[in-house]
Protein backbone atom coordinates (compact mmCIF):
# COMPACT_ATOMS: atom_id res chain seq x y z
CA UNK A 1 0.00 0.00 0.00
CA UNK A 2 1.36 3.45 -0.86
CA UNK A 3 2.53 5.11 2.35
CA UNK A 4 3.97 8.37 3.59
CA UNK A 5 6.04 9.12 6.65
CA UNK A 6 6.33 12.54 8.29
CA UNK A 7 9.06 12.64 10.90
CA UNK A 8 8.61 9.07 12.26
CA UNK A 9 4.86 8.82 11.74
CA UNK A 10 3.59 6.45 9.04
CA UNK A 11 0.31 7.19 7.27
CA UNK A 12 -1.56 6.25 4.10
CA UNK A 13 -0.35 8.37 1.17
CA UNK A 14 -3.76 10.00 0.81
CA UNK A 15 -3.60 11.20 4.43
CA UNK A 16 -0.61 13.47 3.71
CA UNK A 17 -1.58 17.09 4.41
CA UNK A 18 -1.92 18.97 1.10
CA UNK A 19 0.98 21.43 1.65
CA UNK A 20 3.45 18.52 1.60
CA UNK A 21 2.39 17.94 -1.99
CA UNK A 22 3.05 21.54 -2.99
CA UNK A 23 5.58 21.73 -5.81
CA UNK A 24 7.41 24.38 -3.79
CA UNK A 25 8.23 21.64 -1.28
CA UNK A 26 9.48 19.14 -3.88
CA UNK A 27 11.10 21.42 -6.45
CA UNK A 28 10.99 25.04 -5.28
CA UNK A 29 8.64 25.38 -8.26
CA UNK A 30 7.34 28.87 -7.63
CA UNK A 31 8.14 32.58 -7.61
CA UNK A 32 7.83 35.22 -4.89
CA UNK A 33 7.95 38.89 -3.98
CA UNK A 34 8.69 40.95 -0.90
CA UNK A 35 7.04 44.36 -0.67
CA UNK A 36 7.02 46.85 2.16
CA UNK A 37 4.95 49.75 3.39
CA UNK A 38 6.14 52.98 4.95
CA UNK A 39 3.71 54.49 7.45
CA UNK A 40 0.66 52.83 6.00
CA UNK A 41 1.51 53.20 2.31
CA UNK A 42 2.80 50.31 0.18
CA UNK A 43 5.95 51.44 -1.66
CA UNK A 44 6.43 50.74 -5.37
CA UNK A 45 3.57 48.27 -5.52
CA UNK A 46 3.27 48.41 -9.31
CA UNK A 47 7.01 47.80 -9.79
CA UNK A 48 6.82 44.68 -7.64
CA UNK A 49 3.67 43.43 -9.36
CA UNK A 50 5.24 43.94 -12.79
CA UNK A 51 8.34 42.02 -11.73
CA UNK A 52 6.14 39.29 -10.28
CA UNK A 53 4.29 39.03 -13.59
CA UNK A 54 7.65 38.64 -15.34
CA UNK A 55 8.68 35.88 -12.93
CA UNK A 56 5.40 34.00 -13.45
CA UNK A 57 5.81 34.29 -17.20
CA UNK A 58 9.46 33.18 -17.14
CA UNK A 59 8.64 29.93 -15.35
CA UNK A 60 5.36 29.47 -17.26
CA UNK A 61 3.06 29.44 -14.23
CA UNK A 62 -0.45 30.23 -15.43
CA UNK A 63 -3.89 30.33 -13.86
CA UNK A 64 -3.45 33.37 -11.63
CA UNK A 65 -3.58 36.99 -12.70
CA UNK A 66 -1.58 39.88 -11.31
CA UNK A 67 -4.90 41.62 -10.69
CA UNK A 68 -5.88 38.78 -8.33
CA UNK A 69 -2.52 39.10 -6.58
CA UNK A 70 -2.93 42.88 -6.25
CA UNK A 71 -6.37 42.50 -4.69
CA UNK A 72 -5.15 39.89 -2.22
CA UNK A 73 -2.16 42.02 -1.22
CA UNK A 74 -4.37 45.06 -0.71
CA UNK A 75 -6.97 43.09 1.25
CA UNK A 76 -4.36 41.56 3.56
CA UNK A 77 -2.56 44.88 4.01
CA UNK A 78 -5.82 46.62 4.84
CA UNK A 79 -6.83 43.94 7.34
CA UNK A 80 -3.44 43.74 9.06
CA UNK A 81 -3.33 47.44 9.87
CA UNK A 82 0.47 47.47 10.15
CA UNK A 83 2.11 50.78 9.21
CA UNK A 84 5.61 49.51 8.43
CA UNK A 85 4.73 46.12 7.04
CA UNK A 86 6.71 43.42 5.29
CA UNK A 87 4.51 41.67 2.76
CA UNK A 88 5.81 38.34 1.48
CA UNK A 89 3.94 36.29 -1.09
CA UNK A 90 4.60 33.42 -3.42
CA UNK A 91 2.76 31.53 -6.12
CA UNK A 92 3.67 27.92 -6.80
CA UNK A 93 2.72 25.77 -9.76
CA UNK A 94 0.32 23.82 -7.54
CA UNK A 95 0.02 20.60 -5.57
CA UNK A 96 0.19 17.05 -6.83
CA UNK A 97 2.34 13.94 -7.13
CA UNK A 98 6.10 14.47 -7.29
CA UNK A 99 6.51 14.61 -11.07
CA UNK A 100 8.59 17.37 -12.72
CA UNK A 101 5.86 17.64 -15.36
CA UNK A 102 2.63 18.67 -13.67
CA UNK A 103 -0.85 17.39 -14.53
CA UNK A 104 -2.58 19.49 -17.21
CA UNK A 105 -4.53 22.43 -15.84
CA UNK A 106 -3.04 22.23 -12.34
CA UNK A 107 -4.19 25.24 -10.28
CA UNK A 108 -1.42 27.39 -8.76
CA UNK A 109 -1.18 28.01 -5.02
CA UNK A 110 -1.02 31.46 -3.43
CA UNK A 111 0.56 32.12 -0.03
CA UNK A 112 1.11 35.47 1.72
CA UNK A 113 2.32 36.68 5.08
CA UNK A 114 2.28 40.21 6.42
CA UNK A 115 4.32 41.11 9.46
CA UNK A 116 5.76 44.16 11.21
CA UNK A 117 9.15 45.15 9.81
CA UNK A 118 12.04 44.98 12.22
CA UNK A 119 13.62 48.31 13.05
CA UNK A 120 16.77 48.87 10.97
CA UNK A 121 17.88 52.18 12.46
CA UNK A 122 21.10 50.75 13.87
CA UNK A 123 22.21 49.17 10.57
CA UNK A 124 21.23 52.25 8.60
CA UNK A 125 23.01 54.73 10.86
CA UNK A 126 26.11 52.74 11.81
CA UNK A 127 26.50 50.56 8.71
CA UNK A 128 27.02 46.81 8.39
CA UNK A 129 29.82 44.32 7.74
CA UNK A 130 29.80 41.98 4.73
CA UNK A 131 31.85 39.11 3.38
CA UNK A 132 32.36 38.04 -0.21
CA UNK A 133 31.19 34.59 -1.26
CA UNK A 134 31.28 32.70 -4.58
CA UNK A 135 28.09 33.19 -6.59
CA UNK A 136 26.91 29.58 -6.97
CA UNK A 137 23.41 30.38 -8.17
CA UNK A 138 21.69 29.30 -11.37
CA UNK A 139 21.82 31.19 -14.65
CA UNK A 140 18.44 32.91 -14.36
CA UNK A 141 18.81 35.05 -11.25
CA UNK A 142 16.58 37.61 -12.98
CA UNK A 143 13.69 35.30 -11.99
CA UNK A 144 12.68 35.72 -8.34
CA UNK A 145 12.23 32.00 -7.75
CA UNK A 146 11.94 29.85 -4.63
CA UNK A 147 15.24 28.09 -5.47
CA UNK A 148 17.17 29.97 -2.80
CA UNK A 149 19.50 27.37 -1.32
CA UNK A 150 22.71 29.05 -2.60
CA UNK A 151 21.47 32.34 -1.15
CA UNK A 152 20.73 30.64 2.17
CA UNK A 153 24.16 29.00 2.28
CA UNK A 154 25.92 32.30 1.50
CA UNK A 155 23.94 34.26 4.08
CA UNK A 156 24.50 31.60 6.75
CA UNK A 157 28.24 31.81 6.07
CA UNK A 158 28.11 35.60 6.48
CA UNK A 159 26.34 35.24 9.82
CA UNK A 160 28.83 32.62 11.00
CA UNK A 161 31.51 35.23 10.40
CA UNK A 162 29.55 37.86 12.31
CA UNK A 163 28.51 39.72 9.17
CA UNK A 164 25.15 40.90 7.92
CA UNK A 165 25.28 39.94 4.26
CA UNK A 166 27.23 37.89 1.70
CA UNK A 167 28.26 39.74 -1.46
CA UNK A 168 28.33 37.28 -4.34
CA UNK A 169 31.31 37.12 -6.69
CA UNK A 170 31.25 35.40 -10.08
CA UNK A 171 33.97 33.31 -11.77
CA UNK A 172 35.57 36.45 -13.18
CA UNK A 173 35.95 38.02 -9.74
CA UNK A 174 33.13 40.47 -10.41
CA UNK A 175 30.45 41.24 -7.85
CA UNK A 176 26.96 40.36 -9.04
CA UNK A 177 24.81 41.31 -6.04
CA UNK A 178 24.19 40.40 -2.40
CA UNK A 179 22.56 37.11 -1.37
CA UNK A 180 19.38 39.10 -0.66
CA UNK A 181 20.24 42.63 -1.79
CA UNK A 182 21.61 44.77 -4.60
CA UNK A 183 25.19 46.05 -4.28
CA UNK A 184 26.54 49.55 -4.92
CA UNK A 185 29.92 51.27 -4.75
CA UNK A 186 30.84 54.95 -4.76
CA UNK A 187 34.05 54.91 -6.78
CA UNK A 188 36.52 57.46 -8.02
CA UNK A 189 35.75 58.53 -11.59
CA UNK A 190 37.98 61.26 -12.99
CA UNK A 191 35.51 62.03 -15.79
CA UNK A 192 32.58 62.62 -13.43
CA UNK A 193 31.54 66.25 -13.02
CA UNK A 194 28.46 67.97 -11.61
CA UNK A 195 27.55 67.92 -7.91
CA UNK A 196 29.89 65.04 -7.07
CA UNK A 197 33.01 65.69 -9.15
CA UNK A 198 35.39 62.74 -9.40
CA UNK A 199 32.83 60.25 -8.05
CA UNK A 200 30.35 57.84 -9.57
CA UNK A 201 27.86 55.25 -8.42
CA UNK A 202 28.73 51.78 -9.73
CA UNK A 203 26.41 48.78 -9.81
CA UNK A 204 25.97 45.63 -11.89
CA UNK A 205 24.06 46.13 -15.14
CA UNK A 206 20.71 44.32 -15.38
CA UNK A 207 21.21 40.93 -16.97
CA UNK A 208 20.20 37.31 -16.28
CA UNK A 209 22.79 37.10 -13.50
CA UNK A 210 21.06 39.51 -11.10
CA UNK A 211 17.58 40.30 -9.92
CA UNK A 212 16.07 43.48 -11.37
CA UNK A 213 15.89 45.01 -7.91
CA UNK A 214 13.07 47.50 -7.39
CA UNK A 215 15.09 49.30 -4.72
CA UNK A 216 17.98 49.52 -7.22
CA UNK A 217 15.68 51.39 -9.59
CA UNK A 218 14.92 53.99 -6.93
CA UNK A 219 18.57 54.20 -5.85
CA UNK A 220 19.46 55.11 -9.44
CA UNK A 221 16.62 57.63 -9.49
CA UNK A 222 17.99 59.05 -6.23
CA UNK A 223 21.49 59.28 -7.69
CA UNK A 224 20.14 61.22 -10.64
CA UNK A 225 18.26 63.48 -8.25
CA UNK A 226 21.44 64.41 -6.38
CA UNK A 227 23.51 64.74 -9.54
CA UNK A 228 25.68 61.65 -8.97
CA UNK A 229 26.87 59.91 -12.15
CA UNK A 230 25.62 56.31 -12.47
CA UNK A 231 27.78 53.68 -14.18
CA UNK A 232 26.14 50.29 -14.67
CA UNK A 233 29.24 48.10 -14.74
CA UNK A 234 30.11 45.26 -12.37
CA UNK A 235 32.47 46.08 -9.52
CA UNK A 236 35.55 43.85 -9.14
CA UNK A 237 36.50 42.82 -5.60
CA UNK A 238 39.66 45.01 -5.47
CA UNK A 239 37.58 47.95 -6.74
CA UNK A 240 35.11 47.39 -3.93
CA UNK A 241 37.91 47.36 -1.36
CA UNK A 242 39.27 50.61 -2.78
CA UNK A 243 35.87 52.30 -3.03
CA UNK A 244 35.09 55.52 -1.16
CA UNK A 245 31.76 54.13 0.01
CA UNK A 246 29.75 50.94 -0.31
CA UNK A 247 26.14 50.16 0.40
CA UNK A 248 23.46 47.63 -0.36
CA UNK A 249 19.83 48.09 -1.26
CA UNK A 250 16.99 45.86 -0.22
CA UNK A 251 13.23 46.33 -0.08
CA UNK A 252 12.91 45.88 3.67
CA UNK A 253 15.62 48.41 4.63
CA UNK A 254 16.17 50.38 1.40
CA UNK A 255 19.76 51.78 1.58
CA UNK A 256 22.11 50.19 4.13
CA UNK A 257 25.72 51.49 4.32
CA UNK A 258 28.53 48.90 4.30
CA UNK A 259 31.42 49.91 6.59
CA UNK A 260 33.40 46.68 6.55
CA UNK A 261 34.06 44.50 3.48
CA UNK A 262 35.89 41.20 4.00
CA UNK A 263 37.29 42.57 7.25
CA UNK A 264 38.55 45.79 5.68
CA UNK A 265 37.18 49.17 6.78
CA UNK A 266 35.52 51.15 3.99
CA UNK A 267 35.87 54.93 3.90
CA UNK A 268 36.18 56.15 7.47
CA UNK A 269 34.46 53.04 8.82
CA UNK A 270 31.17 54.90 8.92
CA UNK A 271 28.43 55.73 6.38
CA UNK A 272 29.79 58.14 3.76
CA UNK A 273 28.46 61.46 2.51
CA UNK A 274 27.23 60.22 -0.87
CA UNK A 275 25.42 57.28 0.74
CA UNK A 276 23.76 59.63 3.22
CA UNK A 277 22.72 61.98 0.42
CA UNK A 278 21.26 59.01 -1.46
CA UNK A 279 19.35 57.95 1.63
CA UNK A 280 17.81 61.41 1.83
CA UNK A 281 16.92 61.37 -1.86
CA UNK A 282 15.46 57.90 -1.48
CA UNK A 283 13.23 59.25 1.27
CA UNK A 284 11.98 61.72 -1.31
CA UNK A 285 11.05 58.82 -3.62
CA UNK A 286 9.12 57.23 -0.74
CA UNK A 287 7.30 60.48 0.04
CA UNK A 288 6.36 60.96 -3.61
CA UNK A 289 5.18 57.37 -4.21
Amino acid sequence: MPLAMIQDELMPLEAVPIPFRDRAMYFGDGVYEVIRSYKGHIFALEDHLMRFANSLEAVDIRGITVETVRQRVLTAFDQAGIGNAKIYFHVTRGSGPRDPVEAPGLAPNFYLTITELEDATLEKTQGISVITHPDLRWKRCDIKSLNLLPNVLAKREAHKQGCDEAILVDDQGLITEGSASAFFAICGDSSAQGDWPGLCLRTTALHVNILPSVTRKYVIKSAQAIGLTVVERSVAVPEAKAAQELFLAVTTRDIVPIVKFDGQSIGQGKPGKATQALMQAFQQCIDED
Copy 2:
Protein backbone atom coordinates in the same frame (compact mmCIF):
# COMPACT_ATOMS: atom_id res chain seq x y z
CA MET B 1 -1.91 42.19 13.41
CA PRO B 2 0.39 39.74 11.58
CA LEU B 3 -1.68 37.85 9.03
CA ALA B 4 -1.36 35.09 6.49
CA MET B 5 -3.38 34.35 3.40
CA ILE B 6 -3.60 30.96 1.74
CA GLN B 7 -5.32 31.14 -1.64
CA ASP B 8 -7.88 33.87 -0.79
CA GLU B 9 -8.39 32.94 2.86
CA LEU B 10 -7.04 35.31 5.51
CA MET B 11 -5.96 33.95 8.89
CA PRO B 12 -3.85 34.97 11.89
CA LEU B 13 -0.17 34.21 11.22
CA GLU B 14 -0.08 31.65 14.02
CA ALA B 15 -2.92 29.71 12.36
CA VAL B 16 -0.79 28.87 9.30
CA PRO B 17 -0.39 25.08 9.04
CA ILE B 18 3.19 24.12 9.98
CA PRO B 19 4.21 22.75 6.55
CA PHE B 20 3.84 26.23 5.04
CA ARG B 21 6.64 27.33 7.35
CA ASP B 22 8.95 24.55 6.18
CA ARG B 23 12.18 25.97 4.77
CA ALA B 24 11.69 23.69 1.75
CA MET B 25 8.66 25.80 0.88
CA TYR B 26 10.45 29.14 1.22
CA PHE B 27 13.96 28.31 0.02
CA GLY B 28 14.12 24.69 -1.18
CA ASP B 29 16.39 24.34 1.86
CA GLY B 30 16.70 20.57 1.95
CA VAL B 31 18.15 17.48 0.28
CA TYR B 32 16.52 14.31 -1.00
CA GLU B 33 16.98 10.80 -2.34
CA VAL B 34 15.08 8.41 -4.57
CA ILE B 35 15.66 4.70 -4.00
CA ARG B 36 13.92 1.72 -5.57
CA SER B 37 13.34 -1.92 -4.82
CA TYR B 38 13.30 -4.84 -7.24
CA LYS B 39 10.99 -7.66 -6.24
CA GLY B 40 11.01 -6.84 -2.55
CA HIS B 41 14.70 -5.94 -2.20
CA ILE B 42 15.94 -2.35 -1.94
CA PHE B 43 18.73 -1.83 -4.46
CA ALA B 44 21.99 -0.09 -3.52
CA LEU B 45 20.59 1.21 -0.22
CA GLU B 46 24.01 1.94 1.26
CA ASP B 47 25.12 3.90 -1.83
CA HIS B 48 22.04 6.10 -1.58
CA LEU B 49 22.43 6.60 2.17
CA MET B 50 26.09 7.54 1.77
CA ARG B 51 25.19 10.08 -0.93
CA PHE B 52 22.43 11.42 1.29
CA ALA B 53 24.91 11.85 4.14
CA ASN B 54 27.16 13.80 1.76
CA SER B 55 24.24 16.04 0.71
CA LEU B 56 23.30 16.75 4.34
CA GLU B 57 26.91 17.58 5.15
CA ALA B 58 27.32 19.81 2.08
CA VAL B 59 24.38 22.02 3.06
CA ASP B 60 25.20 21.80 6.79
CA ILE B 61 21.90 20.26 7.89
CA ARG B 62 22.44 18.64 11.28
CA GLY B 63 20.23 16.97 13.86
CA ILE B 64 19.36 13.81 11.96
CA THR B 65 21.56 10.76 11.52
CA VAL B 66 21.74 8.49 8.50
CA GLU B 67 20.99 5.62 10.86
CA THR B 68 17.64 7.24 11.69
CA VAL B 69 16.94 7.67 7.98
CA ARG B 70 17.88 4.03 7.28
CA GLN B 71 15.51 2.79 9.99
CA ARG B 72 12.64 4.94 8.73
CA VAL B 73 13.18 3.79 5.13
CA LEU B 74 13.24 0.14 6.19
CA THR B 75 10.17 0.53 8.41
CA ALA B 76 8.16 2.23 5.67
CA PHE B 77 9.31 -0.26 3.03
CA ASP B 78 8.39 -3.16 5.27
CA GLN B 79 4.96 -1.73 6.04
CA ALA B 80 4.14 -0.81 2.45
CA GLY B 81 4.69 -4.34 1.14
CA ILE B 82 5.34 -3.12 -2.41
CA GLY B 83 7.73 -5.31 -4.43
CA ASN B 84 8.82 -2.76 -7.02
CA ALA B 85 8.72 0.36 -4.91
CA LYS B 86 9.83 3.93 -5.44
CA ILE B 87 11.02 5.38 -2.16
CA TYR B 88 11.33 9.17 -2.07
CA PHE B 89 12.51 11.04 1.00
CA HIS B 90 13.80 14.45 1.90
CA VAL B 91 15.16 16.21 4.93
CA THR B 92 14.76 19.96 5.25
CA ARG B 93 16.49 22.32 7.67
CA GLY B 94 13.23 22.70 9.59
CA SER B 95 10.25 25.00 10.02
CA GLY B 96 10.22 28.60 11.16
CA PRO B 97 9.93 32.21 10.12
CA ARG B 98 11.15 33.08 6.62
CA ASP B 99 14.73 34.04 7.45
CA PRO B 100 17.67 32.70 5.41
CA VAL B 101 19.51 32.17 8.70
CA GLU B 102 17.58 29.70 10.83
CA ALA B 103 17.09 29.87 14.59
CA PRO B 104 19.85 28.08 16.54
CA GLY B 105 19.15 24.38 17.09
CA LEU B 106 16.26 24.19 14.63
CA ALA B 107 15.14 20.56 14.23
CA PRO B 108 15.17 19.18 10.67
CA ASN B 109 12.02 17.76 9.06
CA PHE B 110 11.80 14.29 7.49
CA TYR B 111 9.31 13.36 4.78
CA LEU B 112 9.01 10.10 2.85
CA THR B 113 6.67 8.54 0.33
CA ILE B 114 6.66 5.02 -0.97
CA THR B 115 4.69 4.13 -4.07
CA GLU B 116 4.48 1.43 -6.73
CA LEU B 117 6.90 2.05 -9.60
CA GLU B 118 5.33 2.58 -12.97
CA ASP B 119 6.09 -0.09 -15.53
CA ALA B 120 8.91 1.02 -17.84
CA THR B 121 8.97 -1.99 -20.18
CA LEU B 122 7.97 0.06 -23.22
CA GLU B 123 10.66 2.70 -22.73
CA LYS B 124 13.28 0.09 -21.96
CA THR B 125 12.52 -2.11 -24.97
CA GLN B 126 11.71 0.53 -27.59
CA GLY B 127 13.85 3.43 -26.35
CA ILE B 128 12.97 7.06 -25.79
CA SER B 129 13.38 10.44 -27.48
CA VAL B 130 15.28 13.31 -25.88
CA ILE B 131 16.01 16.95 -26.56
CA THR B 132 19.02 19.00 -25.56
CA HIS B 133 18.49 21.98 -23.29
CA PRO B 134 20.88 24.57 -21.79
CA ASP B 135 22.12 23.55 -18.35
CA LEU B 136 20.96 26.51 -16.24
CA ARG B 137 21.49 24.89 -12.85
CA TRP B 138 23.63 26.09 -9.96
CA LYS B 139 27.29 25.26 -9.47
CA ARG B 140 26.82 22.46 -6.92
CA CYS B 141 24.83 19.86 -8.83
CA ASP B 142 26.73 17.21 -6.89
CA ILE B 143 24.38 18.06 -4.00
CA LYS B 144 20.96 16.41 -4.40
CA SER B 145 19.04 19.46 -3.24
CA LEU B 146 15.40 20.52 -3.46
CA ASN B 147 16.33 23.44 -5.74
CA LEU B 148 15.01 21.74 -8.86
CA LEU B 149 13.32 24.52 -10.81
CA PRO B 150 15.81 24.44 -13.73
CA ASN B 151 15.34 20.66 -13.91
CA VAL B 152 11.56 21.10 -13.91
CA LEU B 153 11.71 23.73 -16.66
CA ALA B 154 13.95 21.55 -18.84
CA LYS B 155 11.82 18.43 -18.39
CA ARG B 156 8.61 20.37 -19.10
CA GLU B 157 10.17 21.62 -22.33
CA ALA B 158 11.08 18.05 -23.32
CA HIS B 159 7.50 16.92 -22.71
CA LYS B 160 6.12 19.85 -24.71
CA GLN B 161 8.19 18.56 -27.61
CA GLY B 162 6.90 15.02 -27.13
CA CYS B 163 10.15 13.78 -25.61
CA ASP B 164 10.91 11.89 -22.43
CA GLU B 165 13.94 13.72 -21.09
CA ALA B 166 16.02 16.89 -21.51
CA ILE B 167 19.77 16.38 -21.86
CA LEU B 168 21.56 19.36 -20.34
CA VAL B 169 24.33 21.12 -22.23
CA ASP B 170 26.81 23.51 -20.61
CA ASP B 171 28.26 26.76 -21.99
CA GLN B 172 31.02 24.83 -23.78
CA GLY B 173 28.52 22.68 -25.67
CA LEU B 174 29.30 19.66 -23.51
CA ILE B 175 26.62 17.40 -22.10
CA THR B 176 26.56 17.30 -18.31
CA GLU B 177 23.65 14.94 -17.60
CA GLY B 178 19.89 14.63 -18.02
CA SER B 179 17.44 16.77 -16.05
CA ALA B 180 16.73 13.70 -13.89
CA SER B 181 19.18 11.09 -15.18
CA ALA B 182 22.79 10.33 -16.05
CA PHE B 183 23.79 10.33 -19.73
CA PHE B 184 25.91 7.79 -21.63
CA ALA B 185 27.14 7.36 -25.20
CA ILE B 186 28.64 4.36 -26.96
CA CYS B 187 31.22 6.00 -29.20
CA GLY B 188 33.81 4.88 -31.68
CA ASP B 189 37.25 4.54 -30.07
CA SER B 190 40.00 3.19 -32.31
CA SER B 191 42.22 2.38 -29.33
CA ALA B 192 39.60 0.23 -27.60
CA GLN B 193 40.23 -3.50 -27.69
CA GLY B 194 38.81 -6.46 -25.79
CA ASP B 195 35.24 -7.71 -26.19
CA TRP B 196 34.01 -4.52 -27.88
CA PRO B 197 36.87 -3.50 -30.18
CA GLY B 198 36.63 0.05 -31.52
CA LEU B 199 33.94 1.09 -29.02
CA CYS B 200 33.89 2.80 -25.64
CA LEU B 201 31.36 3.99 -23.10
CA ARG B 202 31.55 7.76 -22.59
CA THR B 203 30.06 9.69 -19.71
CA THR B 204 30.75 12.91 -17.81
CA ALA B 205 33.42 12.62 -15.11
CA LEU B 206 32.23 13.17 -11.55
CA HIS B 207 32.61 16.82 -10.61
CA VAL B 208 30.50 19.56 -9.00
CA ASN B 209 28.53 19.94 -12.23
CA ILE B 210 26.76 16.55 -12.05
CA LEU B 211 25.13 14.34 -9.48
CA PRO B 212 27.19 11.33 -8.44
CA SER B 213 24.55 8.99 -9.82
CA VAL B 214 24.26 5.64 -8.04
CA THR B 215 22.94 4.03 -11.22
CA ARG B 216 25.96 5.46 -13.08
CA LYS B 217 28.22 3.59 -10.67
CA TYR B 218 26.52 0.30 -11.53
CA VAL B 219 26.48 1.09 -15.26
CA ILE B 220 30.26 1.50 -15.10
CA LYS B 221 30.52 -1.75 -13.14
CA SER B 222 28.36 -3.40 -15.83
CA ALA B 223 30.61 -2.04 -18.59
CA GLN B 224 33.64 -3.49 -16.87
CA ALA B 225 31.79 -6.80 -16.52
CA ILE B 226 31.17 -7.03 -20.28
CA GLY B 227 34.65 -5.79 -21.20
CA LEU B 228 33.56 -2.41 -22.56
CA THR B 229 36.12 0.39 -22.16
CA VAL B 230 34.88 3.29 -20.00
CA VAL B 231 36.02 6.84 -20.74
CA GLU B 232 34.92 9.46 -18.23
CA ARG B 233 34.96 12.53 -20.45
CA SER B 234 32.02 14.80 -21.32
CA VAL B 235 30.27 14.14 -24.62
CA ALA B 236 29.89 17.12 -26.97
CA VAL B 237 26.54 17.48 -28.75
CA PRO B 238 27.93 16.55 -32.22
CA GLU B 239 29.59 13.50 -30.67
CA ALA B 240 26.26 12.43 -29.19
CA LYS B 241 24.58 12.78 -32.58
CA ALA B 242 27.31 10.68 -34.19
CA ALA B 243 27.32 8.05 -31.43
CA GLN B 244 26.56 4.38 -32.16
CA GLU B 245 24.23 4.20 -29.18
CA LEU B 246 22.95 6.48 -26.43
CA PHE B 247 21.19 5.76 -23.19
CA LEU B 248 20.36 7.30 -19.86
CA ALA B 249 20.48 5.87 -16.37
CA VAL B 250 18.09 6.65 -13.57
CA THR B 251 17.25 4.89 -10.32
CA THR B 252 13.61 4.23 -11.15
CA ARG B 253 14.24 2.65 -14.58
CA ASP B 254 18.00 1.87 -14.50
CA ILE B 255 19.16 1.79 -18.18
CA VAL B 256 16.86 3.39 -20.77
CA PRO B 257 17.98 3.43 -24.44
CA ILE B 258 17.76 6.73 -26.33
CA VAL B 259 16.73 6.24 -29.95
CA LYS B 260 16.09 9.84 -30.92
CA PHE B 261 18.28 12.81 -29.98
CA ASP B 262 17.11 16.30 -30.97
CA GLY B 263 14.96 14.70 -33.65
CA GLN B 264 17.78 12.62 -35.11
CA SER B 265 17.65 8.83 -35.07
CA ILE B 266 20.47 7.18 -33.14
CA GLY B 267 21.95 3.91 -34.40
CA GLN B 268 19.18 1.98 -36.14
CA GLY B 269 16.47 3.88 -34.25
CA LYS B 270 16.27 1.03 -31.77
CA PRO B 271 18.21 -0.03 -28.66
CA GLY B 272 21.73 -1.07 -29.65
CA LYS B 273 23.71 -4.18 -28.85
CA ALA B 274 26.09 -2.65 -26.32
CA THR B 275 23.18 -1.04 -24.45
CA GLN B 276 21.34 -4.34 -24.35
CA ALA B 277 24.46 -6.11 -23.09
CA LEU B 278 24.81 -3.47 -20.38
CA MET B 279 21.16 -3.96 -19.39
CA GLN B 280 21.81 -7.65 -18.94
CA ALA B 281 24.95 -6.99 -16.90
CA PHE B 282 23.05 -4.43 -14.81
CA GLN B 283 20.48 -7.13 -14.03
CA GLN B 284 23.38 -9.15 -12.68
CA CYS B 285 24.26 -6.25 -10.33
CA ILE B 286 20.66 -6.21 -9.13
CA ASP B 287 20.64 -9.96 -8.56
CA GLU B 288 23.89 -9.80 -6.60
CA ASP B 289 22.91 -6.80 -4.45
